[in-house]
């Protein structure tokens, strides 16, 4: 029973990582850049949602929509201002700029919303499922996060596989120059990717804080790094990979702290990652190029 409980905890933690990792992998797959500011966009999304539900008292669904809109605009804005001028620069230059953006968002949040923690009110308002006389608990947030994760994964797979815009994205991902020659507007395609990635970040932020309700200006950074690890774990650029990587990471983290050592659980998670990468150097699902976004 305890084992099952831990498994469920792992999956619910992992689904949060997975949903963040989906955004990471989406942007990486197309723009080929490690967007270290992704975690901070999540934080912004969570703050927007918090303000709308707690301060204005509007319903949860409005707050999610508002968070999505604000983050999408923020994503497009960041992309225009900070990443677009570097389209032909080295990937490292873009990486450092992304780090600059990350610092900027964190410190802006600190100035705007202050350093005191906020407790996020869950947007999910049905009860947890209790089985076997309450010995096994599945929280409502976990169910919603896992469902959202699966829906987003399927939607993204369909979008990149079957729509015109999605195909354009894949083309840009394969070969920017050739895509341009085929009449694809590379710039707007990449902007679109950022818009989608940021919208996903907003949803991830709301779900992250629903499941783990402490909200601080640094809330996004640690889950951001973990999700980045998850994305690499599953094969960065692969949409199902991000999902699997995220959930596995969560399960390993919980099991490591339950059965091996709670002090060293972080080291164990990264240790497993290293072993996986040694066996499969491009992550679990990263090999097949046609699976890349």
């Amino acid at each position: 029973m305890t084992f099952l409980n831990y498994l469920i905890n792992g999956i619910s933690l992992g689904s949060v990582y997975a949903i963040i990792a989906l955004g990471y992998t989406m942007v990486y797959g197309i723009a080929k850049m490690l967007n270290f500011a992704h975690g901070d966009v999540i934080m912004v999304g969570a703050y927007i949602s918090f303000i709308i539900t707690s301060k204005m008292g509007l319903p949860a669904i409005v707050s999610v929509l508002a968070a999505v809109v604000v983050c999408t605009l923020l994503g497009i804005f960041i992309e225009r201002l900070a990443y677009k001028p570097l389209r032909n620069a080295t990937s490292l230059a873009v990486l450092i700029t992304a780090i600059g953006v990350s610092y900027f968002l964190q410190n802006s949040a600190l100035l705007i919303w202050g350093s005191d923690p906020k407790s996020f009110n869950s947007i999910v308002d049905f009860d947890s499922i209790k089985l076997f006389d309450g010995q096994l608990v599945i929280t409502a947030e976990a169910i919603v996060t896992v469902c959202a994760c699966i829906i987003i994964m399927i939607a993204l797979t369909i979008f990149t596989g079957h729509t015109k815009m999605g195909k354009a994205m894949r083309a840009v991902s394969e070969d920017k120059g050739a895509a341009q020659l085929m009449g694809i507007n590379v710039n707007s395609t990449i902007s679109m990717t950022f818009a989608i990635g940021s919208a996903l970040a907003a949803i991830a932020g709301v779900l992250l804080c629903s499941a783990y309700p402490t909200l601080l200006p640094t809330t996004g950074s640690m889950p951001g790094i973990k999700a980045f690890t998850a994305a690499v774990f599953g094969g960065i650029g692969s949409i199902p990979g991000a999902m699997i990587g995220g959930i596995l990471l969560g399960v390993i983290e919980v099991f490591a702290s339950a059965y091996i050592s709670d002090k060293l659980s972080n080291a164990i998670v990264f240790g497993v990652l290293i072993i996986v990468l040694l066996v499969k150097p491009t992550g679990l699902l990263g090999r097949k190029i046609n699976e890349k976004v």
Binding site: A82, L92, A93, Y103, T229, K263, L273, P281
Partner: protein, 356 residues
């Protein structure tokens, strides 16, 4: 003068780099002798030197070898903590602090080098961003392990535990590394002159590697792995040389850094610290050693200069970082700077004002 002109442009450039560092050292020494240095700057000199060594050594991995490393602070951490232990162990029989520091730097460097070798075996098999994430992973693992590490010294030698300081079973000794508290009661023995010497050694080592056969082989691996392999360059060997050298230097910098504060905690050497050093390297220019030094000086001093603006300090820092990256890397900005340069050189040619 004739001899100077006879040197190759590369060698000349290297000598200019040495010259700048030596000149800066002499100027700072003189200022300090006349009491014209502020407390702030005096306090910043040793860590600044440590960061310069970090940046130069990371440049060897990122700029010269061309592999992105996100865990450089891990080596610094290994060096720092082994240096602290070494120093604590030698306190009783080597009274001279400089000799103790020197031995500690060597021990820290060697241990970081061994760590670099062990990590290098799996890491260098990977490529690109996968390599980057594995270095990040190692950095986090090192941080996590040191966080649980308890080491004490008494008459019987070293005691190590992963549980608690009480488990060490010390017999009137002292706890050197105390889990999450890290090392406390470290003797401050780093000096500016020693740091300067270490910076010079780092520069000589790195610049000589770069200008040697080894360096050319490493750069060949970076520029075209397959071509390099096909002309008989051993990829693993040269990757390893660059990676380990970089780790050794980072370890030495770690000792220097650790010996400048009375306390040291493992959480200091986290992902953000690695990123900070990476920022120095990228901003200074990949493969450009002098650039790394200048970027480190500017970016390390910037948050300190910005102290008067208090709350907005880190915000301004991030904005400056973004703007600098955009202006040095974006095509439009490059074009614009090129124009200004062209105009200036025209003026100079006409005999107008001199160099700006």
């Amino acid at each position: 003068m004739k001899k100077w002109k006879a040197l190759s442009p590369q060698t000349r450039s290297d000598f200019i780099t040495y010259g700048i560092v030596i000149a800066a050292f002499i100027v700072l020494r003189l200022l300090s002798a006349f009491g014209m240095l502020s407390n702030s700057l005096t306090g910043l000199l040793v860590p600044l030197c440590a960061y310069i060594i970090m940046a130069v050594s990371l440049n060897l991995t990122v700029g010269v070898l061309g592999e992105l490393s996100l865990g450089h602070a891990g080596f610094m951490s290994v060096g720092a903590f082994s240096g602290v232990i070494a120093c604590a162990g030698m306190e009783s029989f080597i009274p001279n602090p400089i000799i103790r520091l020197l031995i500690a730097v060597v021990i820290g460097g060697v241990l970081a080098g061994i760590t670099g070798f062990l990590i290098g075996i799996p890491v260098l098999r990977l490529r690109g961003d996968y390599l980057a994430i594995v270095t990040l992973a190692f950095g986090e693992i090192i941080k996590n392990i040191i966080n649980c590490l308890y080491i004490g010294i008494d008459g019987a030698g070293l005691h190590i535990s992963l549980v608690s300081s009480a488990e060490l079973g010390l017999n009137s000794g002292r706890v050197v590394i105390n889990g999450p508290v890290g090392a406390v009661g470290v003797q401050k023995i780093s000096t500016f002159t020693f740091s300067f010497v270490l910076v010079m050694i780092t520069l000589i080592v790195v610049l000589n590697i770069m200008r040697s056969r080894t360096g050319r082989a490493i750069m060949a691996v970076r520029d075209n792995r397959i071509a390099a392999e096909s002309v008989g360059i051993s990829i693993t060997k040269y990757k390893m040389i660059a990676f380990i050298t970089s780790a050794v230097l980072a370890g030495a910098a770690g000792v220097l850094f650790a010996m400048n504060y009375t306390s040291l905690s493992s959480s200091k050497f986290d992902f953000n610290q690695s990123i900070l050093i990476l920022v120095f390297v990228v901003l200074g220019g990949l493969g450009n050693i002098r650039g790394s030094i200048i970027a480190t000086v500017i970016l390390y001093l910037l948050p300190e200069i910005l102290r008067p603006i208090q709350d907005y300090r880190m915000l301004i820092y991030s904005i400056v970082l973004i703007i600098v990256m955009l202006t040095t890397n974006s095509e439009k900005a490059k074009l614009y700077i090129g124009k200004i340069k062209a105009r200036l050189t025209k003026k100079n040619a006409k005999g107008g004002e001199q160099g700006e």
